[in-house]
Symmetry: C2
Subunit: 298 residues, 2 copies
């Protein structure tokens, strides 16, 4: 089942203790799409400027990602806390253009862009069976009402610990924070814990699979070169695997959570999208097994 | 196989958002012993003052803990960062008194007291096959050399993320920090991640079980009433289960890590040692199964 990804495409200048790169292709739609492309067909909708060249497009095309929905205006990277948010006005004017070839998509991922844009895309798509979504502190603080509307359209929300607690009004207990977020609309909530893995919480009866949470570990790795895009890569593995299975059940969700962790762990091993461009499914499944062993009781 | 626990017995005054208690029986030896008593016979060595009454001793005796090694001088609680460390001199003078009935112990746990005292106890015991140990920031910063000597006597060290990174000289990467700590002596290192569970790292070939780490989750719980003693309770479940099995292999270690998490999660549900006094093995095994399900892929 193919997946439609909406989000940002941007150029990141990254400096970490391990080094630096300038103007690397980044943005939530880029990381998500590259990651998900190892599991299923991916279509992208994103707005870009003239800086986005054929060379950049080729990075996505080499992974057989459908790029017909990329176009329009230049967009600054919104994933970074350091973003100059005066640039956000670009979104107010931007109407996502969804190619008609995309309209039969069944699985949708709403990457981290303005919640009203996320909602607009979802509402334009009639045949969607499952919507995943992301958000961040900036929208939680600044666009609370719009985010509230969008959350009602999202089946599975993927955010990190800090975002979950903030979205739950400062609730410090993770389980209680999760329950408050689930009451806002999503049937399931994936909370990402960075190097400690991720936990999925369910609304009672969601997807017909009960309400017990499930937790997948992350691999303790030797060197984190660059954490940029880890969350979007996690989401790409998680949603990509679900889309590839064509149905949502407890076992699929559990494996998806492991694949999310695998893709996040690969993403941080090199700068920018470098590692995500050159993976093989064999490498992915080998790490899946390592993750499984890491926490498996006979 | 019985286990000998050495550590502090103290009286804690605890205040958390959920309430407060005054002069509750606490200390590393108390939490460890109560927790381990659900798995195997426990013997305690600790120094106490006149404040330690028959009523306190009965809390331990009800769990069939051998208290003949409790006596001597009053000792302030050293587990709290707020401890007045001028009191630490009591340790310099204190020579642990180990009843001769304890001398056939095979498994030893060195709770969080001065590293020189930990070493002294270990060196007095000839028949020990496995030594677990704990430490904390105060000793890492202030008694580095003594701690270094003690680490050579410890087979399995149990500390938290912050302590591991500090002990490794400020190394921020968890895997590299673990490898640096393992190079100091222990064959295995358990790093406790609080609500995210715990990971065990091995020296190459330790216990003949290879060097792949293993991670056990923790249960996301609704209300943490009082985190005091969670680490010692974890250690009690971990070491107690290993002692009950009489041998160390990969499967035993993995299950021990889960039992550690189970006991830690029970400890925080009520104030002080209250929950640890009233558990049943059935409740413990039921939560073990929940933890297993939490992260188990079919």
């Amino acid at each position: 089942m193919s997946i439609l990804a909406v989000g940002s495409i941007a150029f990141d200048s990254i400096a970490t203790p391990a080094g630096r790169v300038e103007n690397a292709l980044g943005g939530s739609a880029t990381y998500f799409s590259l990651s998900a492309s190892y599991f299923t067909d991916v279509r992208v909708v994103a707005v870009v400027g003239e800086d986005f060249t054929a060379e950049h497009e080729n990075i996505l095309r080499k992974r057989k990602i459908d790029t017909r929905g990329i176009g329009g205006q230049y967009m600054e990277n919104l994933n970074e806390a350091k973003t100059d948010f005066t640039e956000l006005n670009v979104f107010e004017k931007f109407q996502p253009r969804i190619p008609k070839e995309y309209l039969d998509s069944k699985v949708l991922f709403l990457g981290n862009i303005h919640p009203s844009l996320q909602a607009a895309v979802r509402l334009e798509m009639d045949g969607i069976a499952l919507t995943g979504g992301d958000t961040m502190n900036f929208w939680i603080q600044g666009s609370r009402q719009e985010l509230g509307e969008t959350l009602k359209l999202v089946n599975i929300l993927l955010i990190n610990d800090g975002e979950a607690k903030m979205l739950a009004g400062g609730e410090k207990n993770l389980l209680r924070a999760a329950n408050k977020v689930l009451a806002m609309g999503p049937q399931a909530l994936v909370i990402k814990h960075g190097e400690y893995g991720a936990t999925i919480f369910f609304r009672e009866g969601a997807f017909g699979i009960g309400s017990h949470p499930f937790r997948a570990p992350a691999l303790p790795i030797d060197e984190v070169k660059d954490p940029t895009g880890a969350g979007d890569s996690f989401a790409g593995g998680f949603m990509g695997y679900i889309a590839s299975q064509g149905e949502v059940n407890r076992e699929v969700i559990k494996r998806a959570l492991f694949y999310g962790g695998v893709m996040g762990s690969y993403a941080v091993e090199k700068f920018g999208t470098e590692r995500l461009q050159s993976l093989t499914r064999e490498e992915i499944d080998a790490r899946f097994e390592i993750f499984r062993e890491l926490t498996h009781l006979d």
